[in-house]
């Protein structure tokens, strides 16, 4: 582990790197509801970026815009320097975007190893099956799932399921990994393991963008934080900067969640 990854609240040198993801004025309306409004941010190479905000702030909608589940009503999205706004999910995956879902979604009739093989096989064009199987094995070892390779996904614990979710996304060989509340539902000890897992992901050269509710996790992991409220970006900066921002404090107080959760 490098020093940079463990220091919470300070800008890691990595964030000075090339940009991997850039959102320009992303908006999404559902009928009259403005779920996401004019969101802009830049995500740099090797950076761990957290998106936080009270419930209903539009975080998951934003993630769905990034991964291509929704098309934005306005705005552009650039991935690795390419405009991918009009690209479908699979093309964004090929261009280097990986995603792990908040509610784990394993393929239920496949083994753990087969689940990861899908990512390894189709994440980038032109992969061959034997090599994909090998890479899946390597990822299972890296994420501590090798002993469970033959199990069906429903035989795993929640933490293992989350590891599978991450392993499968990593198998697509992404440049950026989107994580949707990976800590949700985990016990404190398990959350520590998950934090270590995310750090390991960044060390392997993958930039991470994650949504999180648990503030200590954000403090420990994030190089930079984007705070959302009511669909808009309220503040951006280091953990220390945004938590000192009075607008952020009041947004959280207003929802009774509290920043010290």
């Amino acid at each position: 582990m490098t020093a940079a990854t463990t220091i919470g609240g300070t800008l890691s040198p990595a964030s000075q790197g090339a940009e991997v993801l850039r959102a320009e004025g992303l908006s999404k309306r559902f009928g009259g509801l403005k779920a996401v409004q004019d969101v802009s941010f830049t995500h740099h190479q090797g950076e761990i970026l957290a998106v936080i905000g009270p419930n209903g702030a539009g975080k998951t909608t934003l993630l769905n815009l990034l991964s291509g589940v929704y098309r934005p009503s306005a705005g552009r999205l650039h991935l690795m320097g390419r405009d991918v706004t009009d690209q479908p999910m699979e093309a964004r995956c090929h261009a280097g975007l990986g995603r792990a879902f908040q509610i784990v979604r394993p393929f239920p009739e496949m083994t753990v190893h087969e689940n990861v093989t899908v990512g390894a096989l189709f994440g980038k064009p032109g992969q061959r099956l034997p090599e994909a199987r090998e890479r899946a094995w390597a990822l299972l070892e890296r994420t501590g799932l090798a002993a469970h390779a033959d199990k069906a996904a429903h035989e795993l614990t929640l933490l293992q399921d989350k590891r599978l979710e991450v392993a499968r996304a990593l198998a697509t060989n992404p440049s950026v990994l989107l994580l949707d509340e990976v800590m949700a539902g985990l016990r404190p000890g398990e959350a520590q393991e998950a934090v270590a897992l995310v750090r390991g992901v960044r060390e392997s050269g993958v930039s991470v963008l994650f949504i999180e509710h648990i503030m200590p996790v954000v403090r420990d992991l994030a190089d930079r934080v984007v705070v959302m409220d009511q669909g808009q970006v309220l503040a951006q900066g280091t953990y220390r900067e945004v938590t000192a921002d009075p607008r952020v404090v009041s947004a959280y107080l207003g929802t009774e969640e509290g920043l010290q959760a």
Partner: protein, 329 residues
């Protein structure tokens, strides 16, 4: 976790128990061998009749297996009668246009495959009941179109005469049907053992997740449609060449969509052996019943479908071994 594994000294890369071994193909080979030997059995005076039943059992096997290949990609279709019929009509019309039968057969299959791409493109984003209804309606419309074309083109409601396949030699016809079933089995195995298996299974078990992992659903769903309906069209060619005469009502009958679906579910979905076994059992049951009642012998399919859904969701294949998830072919 890997540390714990190392301590236990167990091999980290033990072959998963689902890995398919060559031995898994033995029952299939056995089945094909038995089917190949059938005409050489002492069939007695009813040989011709029994051979005909066996012929249509092979046709049913092709239909069921080809339907299953499409179902593996999550597309539960009620349009199989349409492609069976398009094969039959395509073949008949190509012969009429002067093509030799050996050429007319694959061309008819490819044409049906081409038409299936249109249906596949339209139903791309549909699932569940919407998909089923759209495919059901598609079949009705193909039938309506063929029925309403001028009689000089496709015979209208009356139907078309088709020259007998292989000069009407029933052993040669049987051999051809066997060959086409063996071909279908090979295609099915190829789908099972290559990347297509992972693409189809991923789309079936979670379409959005599959897309996020880079699976191009357009390409793979259409490919499944093309493979499946081309094979179904080959079954239609066999039917047309065997019965000499085809008409829209029988060729595009809903029964031809129901039978492969029921057969695959009864035999064991998403396997190669299951649909083939199911076809054998159900076709024989159907023939037995057909002997005693004139109409309504399809009652077998309705009953088997209901009972399978209620009590045998994994089909015959599920009886073989008590596996949580099959590693069978």
């Amino acid at each position: 976790m890997s540390a714990r594994q190392a301590e236990a000294g167990a091999p980290v890369r033990a072959a998963p128990r689902r890995e398919i071994t060559p031995g898994a193909a033995l029952p299939l080979l056995g089945f094909l061998l038995l089917a190949a030997l059938f005409p050489f059995l002492p069939l007695g005076s009813r040989a011709e009749f029994l051979l005909q039943i066996a012929f249509f059992t092979l046709v049913a096997g092709i239909m069921a297996l080809s339907w299953d290949i499409l179902a593996r990609s999550g597309q539960v279709s009620l349009a199989h009668a349409a492609f069976y019929g398009l094969g039959a009509y395509g073949y008949a019309l190509l012969l009429k246009a002067g093509l030799p039968w050996l050429l007319a057969m694959p061309v008819a299959a490819l044409l049906a495959g081409g038409v299936s791409l249109i249906l596949g493109a339209v139903t791309m984003r549909l699932s569940g009941m919407y998909f089923a209804i759209a495919t059901l309606a598609f079949t009705e419309v193909v039938r309506t179109i063929i029925q309403n074309l001028p009689e000089s083109v496709a015979g209208g409601a009356t139907g078309l005469l088709v020259p007998a396949l292989l000069g009407g030699n029933s052993r040669a016809q049987y051999a051809l049907a066997w060959g086409l079933l063996a071909f279908t089995v090979l295609v099915s195995l190829a789908v099972r053992l290559t990347r297509l298996h992972f693409a189809f299974a991923a789309i079936r078990q979670g379409e959005e997740t599959a897309r996020v992992l880079g699976v191009s659903i357009v390409r793979f769903k259409l490919l499944a449609f093309f493979i499946s309906s081309s094979l179904a069209a080959l079954a239609g060619v066999l039917y047309a060449g065997k019965t000499f005469f085809i008409n829209p009502l029988e060729t595009f009958s809903l029964a031809n969509s129901i039978a492969p679906l029921t057969t695959s579910i009864f035999g064991g979905l998403y396997t190669t052996l299951g649909p083939v076994l199911g076809a054998t059992v159900l076709r024989v049951a159907e023939e037995l019943l057909h002997n005693s009642v004139k109409d309504g012998y399809l009652v077998v399919y309705g009953l088997v479908l209901m009972l399978s859904i209620l009590w045998l969701p994994r089909g015959l294949m599920g009886l073989r071994r008590n596996r949580k998830h099959g590693g069978d072919l």
